[in-house]
């Protein structure tokens, strides 16, 4: 996709305002909460700390593209089914971090999942059901691998 915006346009604004992709959230604007997490060339990045020019020639995945992958479908299903969603404002960023994590390996422990999501804050859940959801999604992806 070609879009022309000022080089220093924050990626979170590019997504939310210019492209109308409001699934990516902004919770702090200073890189501390993780609500704006997206994948850039498969890596979890904070879109509030990136400018448009850094995206030149890269492949970007936002929560709107979550269902385009098997892992993403399982993550969405598990977040809903395991009760990991409350207010839902951290959810898209949390899911993108989980997507990067599950793609990096299929057999993380709960502790490793907590570590992998440590850049994402949630104020509603106490994290228990978020970790449950990522465990569940990872198990289902693993089962799918065997089939």
């Amino acid at each position: 996709m070609d879009i022309y915006v000022p080089d220093d346009r924050r990626v979170v604004d590019l997504l939310r305002v210019d492209l109308g992709l409001t699934g990516t959230k902004e919770g702090c604007g200073t890189g501390e909460c993780g609500a704006c997490t997206i994948l850039v060339d498969g890596e979890a990045r904070l879109s509030c700390l990136m400018v448009a020019a850094q995206l030149e020639g890269t492949s970007v995945t936002t929560v709107e593209g979550l269902e385009l992958s098997r892992e993403g479908i399982e993550i969405r299903r598990a977040f809903a089914g395991e009760g990991a969603v409350q207010c839902g404002f951290c959810t898209p960023g949390m899911e993108m971090a989980a997507l990067a994590l599950i793609r990096s390996g299929r057999d993380h422990t709960r502790e490793q999942i907590r570590e992998g999501l440590s850049g994402n804050l949630c104020r509603c859940t106490g994290y228990v059901k978020i970790v449950d959801a990522v465990m569940k999604a990872m198990e289902r992806v693993r089962l799918g691998d065997r089939e």
Binding site: D13, R16, V17, G20, L21, T22, G23, T24, K25, E26, G27, C28, G29, T30, E32, C33, A35, T62, V63, E64, L66, E67, R76, F79, A80, G81, G83, A84, V85, Q86, C87, G88, F89, C90, T91, P92, E95, R110, I113, R114, E115, L117, S118, N120, L121, C122, R123, C124, T125, G126, Y127, V128, K129, I130, V131
Partner: protein, 764 residues
């Protein structure tokens, strides 16, 4: 998925109706709305803690390219004052500035970037007045008055007197004393305060706001700006968190004012995190002095305490916050003699207001610490002392209110007592790795629900059969993430015998729903849910009746409403709901019902100086257990296990019940260990989430929630609100666990490593 094929059930862990839309990023929050041709609005704030605003130079801000207007107090129509109970807060300061976050100018700009450049260019000339930041100094004679009509800066001074506490201490065999303090806590909802507004052609202002109280907002805006209520329409989509911080005006009056000056263009305002921390509401810091006495056998006998709540520059709900704290100051126990004194004091600090467990988590820290201190004096087990004195049905609580609703605190304590985390704690403690100590701590907790006496706690539910044969619940109390609207769908689907996929939900909109109060006070699901039950029963009866007309049957008794249709049992004939709906005029397809929550029938003569909101009759209870491991070299307290037993009556949705408990404990652990919104001379020093620390994934254990299976006769399907109660447990439970581990008693929260280390070293 099979659940979609079945009627929705109460008691089943139904998947929340908003889960998929939120998990796919499709749910539209207020923050996600960017209308075409919008203007951005932003606020210039005073920066000075106390002073007289003598002049404002807005020329530099106005000269910034893209800035359209800079509004000041002179542009505000109407009295320019808002406030839930006391109309004391200026929309834009017009005379005295009372804290650093007071709004002095409102800027309208074409872009957010222009706004950011312009805001700091507004020059307010403020002639300093002596400021006061310590509530004790603020009460002293001669202290500068922050509001001329509030003597000694007291927003409220009140007491609860039950029995003869001072004399009763002479009859006690053991007395514990302590002084405690709790920090300012910030809500840190991830979606900061925001909204959009537009002046419509017919002269009405349409707004979409991240708010807990759309109907009350209309009153606030209408009063402050002198606008008739029917010219203000507010929609409240799902909130990205609230926790009390969006109860009351944040962006509302400012946005409406901006819309009046935007030539019909839509206006958007979104606070940044720094602004949220500097000008948003926060939890009251509190100082508490306690004395608690018991008989030799452990029977609690007398309590005396003095509470000082720092309410900051404006009233908001400060008095009511303190009242609720006072009502809980004696814990969920029988104590015959109580003297509870409270002072809610203005300072030039930022405004303290509503936050989850409204005034209660402060006193719970003090009281539950006192219980362990007293248990030690008595040589008793802290579990035994609590069980011996725990309130049961029919007892009289510390406010002198006889308990006529379900009281499950003893049941919750028993659930902990019988759990391996408690039973096997000594063995677990012996397993502490070298350089660490382990301990287990308890807290028994409660939290009243509802507005209390003198404030009618009412909701008006509306449910509709649409022309397509689907049912719609018109929610009227904001869903800030707790899932009340999902519970409403579950209740409606259950009564109307429909599957989840046949039910629709509208979030609150003052144009289409009915005033139903705020999403607050543990009353949201309770009050609206009760209203909704009858509305659904009425609609069900009506739908069956109208089907009988179509089917030519003499009586309704053999007709059943089932998923998608009404059937006549003897003949098997049926009417699909879509067909039935096309037969009914719209007003016939809508049912509306009001419910008013119960109030105390027998108000005790114990409370003096209270305004409204006393007493409460429905309370959620709980008991928490924290097991901690303390690093003796660093003072770091790690919560290893956390167990929360909760009496919320009957559980409507076990998954959502757990969500509330987990979340309350998580927020409570932050309050216990790290959260402290630091303000110096009225300036907020915690500007971001790297200086104000909330728990991350690595900071909390896998919290375990156990429901106490009770039943609240007045509740919808037997439930009570549990959104707040869990917040009260973690701080005292962790403090008690720390005392158990290291023999040190921290009375000042948060329980930081430096405080712990200092106490450990002092004890050596």
């Amino acid at each position: 998925m099979t659940i979609d094929r079945e009627r929705m059930e109460i008691g089943k862990p139904e998947i929340r109706s908003d889960a998929y839309s939120k998990a796919s990023g499709r749910e539209r929050f207020a923050a996600d709305i960017y209308p075409d041709n919008l203007l951005w609005a932003g606020v210039a704030r005073a920066g000075a803690a106390h002073g007289r605003l003598t002049s404002l130079d807005v020329s530099a801000a106005l000269a910034v390219p893209g800035v359209l207007k800079v509004l000041t107090a002179g542009d505000v129509p109407g009295p320019n004052r808002h406030g839930i109970i006391h109309k004391d807060t200026p929309v834009l300061a017009d005379d005295v500035v009372r804290y650093t976050g007071d709004a002095v100018a409102l800027i309208l700009a074409e872009t957010r970037e222009a706004l950011k450049v312009a805001v700091p260019l507004v020059k307010a000339v403020i002639e300093p007045l002596t400021a006061v930041f310590d509530p004790r100094e603020a009460m002293a004679d001669g202290a500068p008055l922050i509001h001329a009509d509030r003597e000694n800066n007291l927003l409220m001074a009140a007491e609860i007197r039950k029995g003869e506490a001072l004399a009763a201490f002479a009859e006690c065999d053991a007395v514990a004393e302590g002084e405690f303090s709790t920090p300012v806590q910030a809500h840190i909802f991830l979606e900061t305060e925001n909204g959009t507004a537009q002046l419509e052609e017919d002269g009405a202002i349409s707004m979409t706001v991240s708010t807990q109280s759309p109907f009350r907002d209309r009153l606030e805006i209408g009063h402050a700006l002198g606008i008739p209520f029917d010219r203000i329409r507010i929609a409240s989509p799902c909130l990205g968190g609230g926790f009390g911080g969006k109860d009351g005006a944040t962006v509302q009056c400012l946005l409406a004012l901006a819309a009046l000056h935007a030539d019909g263009r839509p206006v958007k305002m979104q606070w940044e995190r720094e602004e949220n921390l500097a000008a948003g509401y926060r939890r009251h810091a509190c100082r508490m002095r306690y004395r608690l006495g018991a008989k030799r056998d452990g029977t609690l006998h007398a309590l005396e305490c003095e509470l000082i709540y720092d309410t900051g520059a404006y009233a908001h709900l400060g008095g009511e916050v303190m009242e609720l704290g006072m009502e809980h100051a004696g814990g969920p126990y029988r104590i015959p003699h109580n003297l509870i004194r409270g002072k809610c004091v203005h300072t030039n600090n930022p405004v303290a207001g509503a936050m989850r467990a409204f005034g209660v988590c402060q006193v719970t820290f003090a009281f539950e610490s006192m219980m362990d201190m007293l248990a030690k004096e008595l040589g008793m087990d802290p579990m035994g002392l609590r069980l011996q004195n725990a309130l049961t049905d029919g007892d009289t609580n510390c406010a002198g209110v006889r308990l006529v609703t379900s009281t499950g605190v003893a049941g919750c304590l028993e659930l902990l007592r019988d759990h391996p985390f408690w039973r096997e704690r000594e063995e677990w403690k012996r397993g502490a790795p070298p350089g660490t100590r382990r301990g287990a701590g308890l807290a028994a907790i409660f939290n009243a629900a509802g507005y209390g006496g003198g404030v009618r706690d009412s909701a008006i539910a509306k449910v509709e059969l649409g022309p397509d044969g689907r049912f719609t619940v018109h929610n009227a109390v904001s869903d800030m993430g707790q899932g009340n609207s999902c519970a409403f769908l579950q209740m409606a689907g259950h009564i109307l015998c429909q599957e989840a996929s046949a039910m629709d939900l509208f979030q609150p909109d003052t144009a289409t729903a009915y005033p139903s109060g705020s999403s607050a006070a543990g009353r949201t699901t309770f009050t609206y849910g009760n209203a909704l039950i009858q509305a659904c029963e009425d609609l069900k009866a009506r739908v069956i009746n109208r089907a009988g007309l179509l089917l030519f049957v003499d009586s309704d008794k053999d007709l059943r409403l089932v998923p998608g249709k009404v059937i006549h049992l003897p003949s098997g004939r049926e009417v699909p709901l879509e067909r039935l709906a096309s037969f009914m005029p719209r007003e016939d397809r809508v049912c509306i019902n009001q419910y008013v929550a119960p109030v105390c029938e027998d108000v005790p003569d114990t409370a003096k100086g209270f305004f409204i909101g006393f007493p409460h009759v429905i309370l959620a209870y709980g008991a928490h257990l924290a097991r901690v491991q303390v690093d003796l070299a660093t003072g770091v307290i790690r919560v290893m296990d956390y167990l929360a037993a909760t009496d919320g009556g009957r559980v409507v949705n076990p998954a959502m019940f757990e969500q509330q408990v987990h979340g309350g404990v998580g927020q409570g652990l932050g309050y216990a260990l790290t959260e402290d919104l630091v303000t110096r001379e009225g300036k907020v020093l915690s500007k971001d989430l790297s200086t104000y620390l909330i728990p991350g994934t690595m900071d909390a254990p896998d919290i375990v929630s156990i429901p106490y299976h009770g039943n609240e006769a007045t509740g919808p399907f037997g439930m009570k609100g549990i959104g707040e109660v869990a917040m009260n447990g973690p701080l005292p439970a962790v403090a008690n666990a720390l005392a158990d581990a290291c023999g040190i008693r921290l009375c000042h929260a948060p329980l930081t490593p430096s405080r712990a280390l200092e106490a450990i070293e002092a004890g050596r």
